[in-house]
């Protein structure tokens, strides 16, 4: 992570190298008769500075794919690259350090530590890795997600939407190479969801952030630059510049 200081430099990271690449990714849970093939050979590339949505029916392997890409889970076969680092073969310690340095997370629920205030939660990843928060970036992110007057609150004192916005701010603040979001708006009403999604899109447009998001919602998917579709552990389709309608149509076709 060489980029420090102003946001402009970070923006100029360029679209040259892909942020995340997966080759022939397979994941099998269990053994023998009980084996579940969650991923059956996925090849996918996520461009730097792009906002990608992953869609598919329940049980199609979306979360599994995300966990494998983020180094949260081990793969059965194939390779994953985050930037120039190959994940497969790394030990737990190295994976942890990699997540710490290069990856941001937004989960569907339970994103925040209940003992910490919003601000402490936002700064947590930086503190864990012993880095100083970039104050300019911090102010900008906080401003963007509109949390200025909520910084001293504990998570229980925040609404679900506000909690997710804190999670977004936390993911952005450490300037990760990629942010993985698993149904970040799954628990929110459409208005709060729309807010969170527009922050995500803003961060891609303005900060050049790379985001990979799993979602069930065609409207949410339409915020992305590109949508990929999974079924039974295989990549089956993809849409560029999606609209809610085009996503819905594709889904219908998939399920048919």
């Amino acid at each position: 992570m060489t980029i420090t200081g102003e946001v402009g430099a970070w923006n100029a990271r360029g679209n040259s190298a892909p942020a995340v690449v997966a080759r022939g990714l397979t994941k099998v849970y269990g053994q023998g008769d009980a084996a579940v093939h969650a991923l059956r050979g996925v090849d996918i590339t996520f461009a730097t500075g792009a906002f990608t949505a992953i869609m598919g029916p329940s049980g199609s392997g979306k979360s599994t794919l995300m966990h494998c890409l983020a180094g949260l889970d081990t793969v059965t076969g194939g390779q994953v690259h985050i930037g120039d680092v190959e994940l497969t073969g790394l030990g737990d310690k190295q994976l942890t350090l990699l997540r710490r340095e290069r990856i941001g997370f937004i989960f569907q629920a339970f994103n925040l530590l209940p003992t910490l205030t919003a601000e402490q939660n936002i700064r947590l990843p930086l503190e864990i890795s012993g880095r100083q928060a970039d104050q300019v970036l911090f102010d900008r992110v906080v401003e963007t997600v509109g949390l200025r007057d909520r910084l001293a609150h504990k998570p229980t004192e925040l609404s679900g939407g506000q909690q997710q916005r804190v999670a977004v701010a936390r993911a952005l603040i450490s300037k990760p190479q990629v942010i993985f979001a698993d149904e970040p708006t799954g628990n929110l009403d459409s208005r709060s969801g729309a807010e969170v999604l527009s922050f995500l899109r803003t961060s891609v447009r303005e900060l050049g952030q790379t985001i990979v998001m799993v979602t069930h919602d065609p409207v949410a998917a339409a915020y992305a630059d590109r949508v990929v579709f999974l079924r039974d552990g295989l990549l089956v389709n993809e849409l560029v510049q999606p609209t809610p309608q085009s996503v819905l149509d594709t889904l219908m076709k998939l399920e048919a």
Binding site: D92, K93, L97, L113, T115
Partner: protein
């Protein structure tokens, strides 16, 4: 409902076991106490009755008789009684055995006993034969071993006049369970020799064997008629029963003492159980709400928690009883290793032990779970539908503060009153009662104190361990009630340990200062057992030694003094430079011929003060009237309670031998040279024991250390149980925070960091518990010492106290090892999915 509960228990076998362990240890200790003392008791009574089987009738000194001996002439009288097959008297007294170094062995003279012959003999000869001739003796096996004597050797024994006699050692014997003989060591002779050596006129007892076909009871009647009043006549069976009863009273003290520690452990276990069930109920709020949703009544929910506790209680009590059996047997093995004579056979759980263990285990567990069970009934069905886990926010209620304030004020008040009233037994109890009440106040106030205390305890870890450290300190106070109960369990043990260590170190300091004051001499030469005297030549010899600066001889005798004519110890000391007893009133400078100095206690008994006249009956000078010129503290001075000038003493009582000698070493003389000089002078007098002040202090220190060690060891159990509590709380908290840990791991916390986080949390909990415990222990240790005796020099064992705090923290970290490992091992993905 029953099925649901049991299924829940089966699903969490490990948790059940961990929870049970606390009660298991408590019950185990109590059961172990019973097993230990029961075994000792039955062992003793078995031996007593085995010994008594040989005797049909025994004649003992009457309870009211002045002379604690059976008159010797009764022996012949009994021999004449119809139906007596054999009768022999048992002689017992003391006869110092001379060791190979030429000095009497041990601190006290060896006991001397007569070895009976034939059927009446109860002494077991382990090698060689019993003494048959006047010049033969036997020795107890233990003394023979430690002093290096073997059968065939010649041993020298002093008679009651101090004259040396030589005997051939013909055998060794086992003292059995006779504690007196075991303690002093024993040499056995024929009856006549024993009487001669000890100078005893009567018998300790007379044993009678009945002729064929004469019932013991009949014989008892006829013997009783023959000996008349003044002595007690019992059948052998009855005698054994009485001995067993007396011994039972001794073991009862041991039982009560040990049980005290057992109850402390049980109390701590109850706290642990209470906390565990509280957490379990909190964690199962959803499950219980779901049960309520589908129609379970409050009563059923309450019942399910109580039932669970009853099962835990049952399981742990059974395990506890088994543990107790092992503990009891182990303790006996350890005790018999140390050379003490204890029975080790027939270790068993008496029905009483089983009943007490089961009832105590189950009742304590169920009662401790009642409050949590009640909390469970308060769970509203709607809670099942809430998705977000509610953080336990704690606010210090007014009621809590009021109650805590009342208890603390009452405790402090009672203790302050006791301390200000001054030393005394009732004051000591009052101070300790105050301590107990204060502890209750602390127990109530606990949750309020957790936050500030965790700030203190967490100050260093916060700065030392980075993010994991900070998160850990936050976690430690996130549920104040839970943390308070967890730590208070540790507080109990640490407070008691601190109290004991404050007591011992204060006693050490106080005794040391008193020793300096009242024993301002380097060496004391005393007769073995402090009874008797040695020729003045010894003191004369010491005075010629260049290594010594001053030598004071003490002479004393018993004489009637005062208007009532009661006996007092009257004596004198030979003056020497640097030896001047301190007077509380008057002055020793005025101790001229015709005057007397009196100790404070004696003065009280005599009713005299400085300036009064004191009549003393002398042996050479009739009754003399002496003027009291000084009073002194008997506890602090070394001189006799009625002290006259040494010239006067010789005139009043004749030139008596010296009873004790004090010697001071000249400046610059090495310790070992001085000691050699004193020992060389004492060498010709076998019973003259040389004691140095450093030795005396060392012995006292050793005894204190021993006591400290034993008590600390016994309290260690309570501490161990509270550590189980920490481990339990932590593992339940870890379980509760599965998702949180996963989130932290996803955000980049490494496994070692996660483990460290939990260790630091446990460390903080341990230190909080220890801090409170140490504070209570020091305060009430101080209160206890200042209500115990006057003139205490309070001493804070800072090193030990700091060690308690450090060890508690360390122990907390140890308790966290397993929960932390489990948390760190959990897969992130699985944990994120966990509901």
């Amino acid at each position: 409902m029953l099925k649901t509960t049991l299924a829940g228990l089966r699903a969490h076998k490990l948790r059940l076991l961990l929870t049970s362990l606390a009660i298991t240890l408590g019950v185990g200790f109590i059961a172990g106490t019973f097993v230990l003392t029961d075994t000792i008791e039955t062992g003793f009574s078995r031996k007593f009755s085995a010994a008594a089987d040989k005797i049909d009738v025994v004649v003992l000194p009457g309870e009211t008789s002045d002379e604690p001996a059976v008159p010797a002439d009764l022996l012949e009288k009994i021999r004449e009684v119809e139906g007596v097959a054999d009768v022999q008297g048992v002689v017992r007294g003391s006869a110092p055995l001379i060791g190979k170094d030429g000095k009497a062995v041990g601190d006290y003279p060896t006991a001397a006993v007569s070895i009976l012959k034939g059927r009446l003999n109860r002494t077991e000869i382990t090698s060689g034969t019993a003494p048959e001739k006047p010049a033969e003796a036997v020795l107890d096996a233990n003394t023979a071993k430690t002093r290096g004597f073997a059968v065939g050797d010649t041993v020298t024994v002093l008679d009651s006049e101090g004259a040396k006699h030589e005997f051939t050692l013909v055998g060794l014997f086992d003292v059995g369970l006779d504690q007196e003989l075991a303690y002093y060591g024993a040499v056995g002779f024929t009856a006549e020799t024993a009487a001669k050596m000890t100078g005893q006129k009567g018998f300790r007892e007379i044993d009678v064997a009945a002729a064929e076909g004469v019932p013991a009871e009949t014989l008892r009647g006829s013997v009783s008629a023959a000996v008349g009043s003044g002595v007690e006549v019992k059948t052998g069976k009855r005698y054994a029963e009485d001995l067993a009863k007396a011994n039972g009273a001794d073991t009862k003290v041991l039982t009560l003492g040990l049980l005290l520690f057992g109850f402390v452990a049980m109390f701590v276990a109850a706290l642990v159980i209470y906390n565990t069930f509280n957490i379990l109920v909190a964690q199962r709020t959803r499950e219980m709400a779901l049960l309520r949703c589908i129609g379970a009544t409050r009563k059923q929910v309450f019942g399910s928690v109580v039932l669970e506790s009853a099962v835990v209680g049952l399981v742990s009590s059974v395990l506890g009883l088994l543990t107790g059996l092992g503990l009891g047997a182990g303790a006996l093995a350890v005790i018999s290793r140390t050379g003490l004579e204890v029975p080790t056979e027939g270790v068993a759980l008496a029905p009483r032990t089983v009943a007490v263990g089961m009832v105590l285990g189950i009742v304590v567990t169920v009662v401790a779970a009642l409050l949590p069970a009640r909390a469970a009934t308060r769970v509203a069905p709607i809670a099942a539908l809430r998705s977000q886990v509610e953080e336990n926010t704690f606010r210090a209620g007014v009621l809590r503060l009021v109650f805590a304030g009342l208890f603390l004020a009452a405790g402090a008040g009672v203790t302050a009153f006791a301390v200000s009233t001054g030393p005394g037994e009732s004051e000591l109890f009052m101070a300790m009662a105050g301590g107990a009440v204060t502890f209750l106040g602390v127990l109530i106030l606990g949750p309020v104190m957790v936050k500030p205390l965790s700030a203190v305890a967490g100050w260093v870890p916060r700065r030392l361990f980075g993010v994991p450290g900070r998160l850990a300190v936050d976690n430690s106070r996130r549920n104040p009630k839970r943390s308070a109960t967890t730590t208070v369990a540790l507080t109990v043990g640490v407070a008691l340990m601190t109290l004991i260590s404050v007591l011992t170190s204060t006693m050490r300091a106080t005794y040391g200062a008193k020793l300096d004051e009242q024993f301002p001499v380097d060496y004391m030469v005393q007769v073995q057992g402090d009874e008797g005297s040695f020729p003045r030549a010894l003191a004369e010899d010491l005075r010629t030694r260049p290594e010594l600066a001053s030598v004071v001889a003490l002479r004393r005798t018993d004489a009637k003094a005062g208007a009532k004519g009661n006996e007092f110890e009257v004596g004198t000391f030979t003056p020497a430079a640097g030896f001047s007893p301190k007077a509380t009133t008057g002055s020793f400078g005025d101790l001229k011929p015709g005057t007397v100095a009196v100790g404070d206690e004696a003065a009280k008994a005599l009713g005299v003060k400085v300036g009064d006249a004191l009549p003393v009956t002398t042996t050479k000078d009739g009754e003399v009237r002496l003027t009291v010129v000084a009073l002194f503290s008997e506890a602090d001075a070394l001189i006799p309670e009625v002290t006259v000038p040494h010239g006067d003493f010789d005139r009043y009582f004749g030139a008596l031998d010296d009873g004790a000698i004090f010697a001071n070493v000249k400046d610059g003389v090495a310790e070992e040279n001085a000691r050699k000089a004193v020992e060389a002078a004492a060498q010709p007098y076998p019973t003259a024991m040389v004691i140095s002040s450093t030795e005396l202090r060392g012995e006292f220190d050793e005894a204190l250390d021993m006591m400290l060690m034993i008590i600390t060891g016994l309290l260690g159990l309570a501490v161990l149980i509270s550590l189980l509590g920490i481990a339990n709380t932590l593992s339940l908290s870890v379980h509760e925070r599965t998702r949180e840990s996963a989130l932290l791991r996803a955000l980049g916390l490494t496994r070692p960091q996660l483990r460290r986080m939990l260790s630091v949390e446990a460390l903080v909990l341990g230190v909080i518990g220890a801090l409170v415990g140490v504070a209570l222990g020091v305060v009430f240790g101080w209160a206890a010492t200042s209500t115990m005796t006057t003139g205490v020099i309070f001493q804070l064992p800072a090193g030990q106290v700091l060690a308690f705090v450090a060890l508690s923290g360390l122990a907390g970290v140890l308790a966290a090892v397993l929960p932390a490992r489990r948390a760190a091992r959990a897969s992130i993905v699985d944990s994120l999915a966990a509901g």
